[in-house]
Amino acid sequence: MTGKRRDSLLILVPALNEEGAVGGVVRAIRESVPGAPVLVVDDCSTDGTIAAARAAGAEVLPMPHHLGLGGCVQAGYKLAFELGFEYVIRLDGDGQHDAQDIPRIYETLRRTGCHMVIGSRFAEANGSNTSWLRAVGIHFFRLVLRPVLGKPVRDPTSGYVGVNRKALQVFSQSFPLEYPEIEALVVLQRKRFVFEEVPCRMHPRRTGRSSITPLKSIYYIVHVLLGVFVNVLKYERRAPKPKRRS
């Protein structure tokens, strides 16, 4: 698996105890983008996630111990960067993201030249496939992020994300470890990188249950708000504004 080819694409699937879903996810990806390597980053699963992913045709990067979502995704980004990939698209291993949307994200990355493309549940009318609690949280973060990012973002918590090589380099060096989606947006904004959103479909989880409880939701909000605040304060790392041509 190498990314020496121009426009090379890697599909990244972080997974933790997704034995029942990950095989189907990998097969769906291989149908949607034949030829694109699929890397499942296993966060020390205790079930047969690794075997299921390999049986479905994915490469697997097993973590030596549990790192959490951010650490797991960053490991995948680091490997992709080292192997020379131009684009990486990340989707969840639980089957919630529809692999048929990968070509749209990939095409947007290549056509627009933007650094990040978010697969958004809310870019089209099919945006109600989420719990009311999560919908309230997403609305809250939209309001918070609007002035920080300088443009509206409709689905800031989406884990369906494509990045180009420049963003890959940034994320290889610095990536939020817990609840990374929103903070990652702010990290890119500090570099004056550009993101786009494209509509994507969401399905209910194929197996297992979400680990988010009401108490964890409150922790999530506080944690992410703090992360956004801290990243906004990192003025020294902020890239200068591009000069206007006279």
Binding site: L61, L67, L79
Partner: protein
């Protein structure tokens, strides 16, 4: 007041003995025991030297010296906790970077073995 001072002395001595025993058994590294020992020693000295404690309390504008001692103890331990939070955060970052590097190296090794095996 004397009783409270005695309790503080006892707690300080207990803390010093506990930390020294932990260092001896290699449960705490020497460099991380210094903060605890210095903090406990300061509390021991203040609880056994009423003149010094009265002076410090006076400088702090506190009329009841044991309150000054408790305030100082609280502040010392907050500083120690802060210092350890910084150390733990750095250790966690290093640990994650190391785990990622190990995983990536193992991946390269497996790929190499696979290509050699044909």
């Amino acid at each position: 007041m004397d009783r409270l001072m005695d309790i503080m002395t006892g707690l300080s001595v207990l803390l010093i003995v506990l930390v020294l025993a932990s260092v001896r058994r290699a449960h705490i590294r020497v460099e991380y025991s210094v903060s605890w020992l210095l903090g406990a020693a300061a509390l021991l000295v203040l609880s056994r030297a009423p003149v010094l404690l009265n002076y410090v309390a006076g400088r702090m504008g506190i009329t009841y010296p044991p309150v000054a001692l408790l305030l100082i103890a609280g502040f010392v331990f907050v500083i120690i906790f802060y210092r350890f939070s910084v150390i733990i955060s750095k250790l966690k970052d290093d640990n994650i970077a190391l785990a990622q590097r190990v995983a990536i190296l193992e991946y390269h090794l497996r790929s190499r073995k696979g290509s050699i095996a044909g």
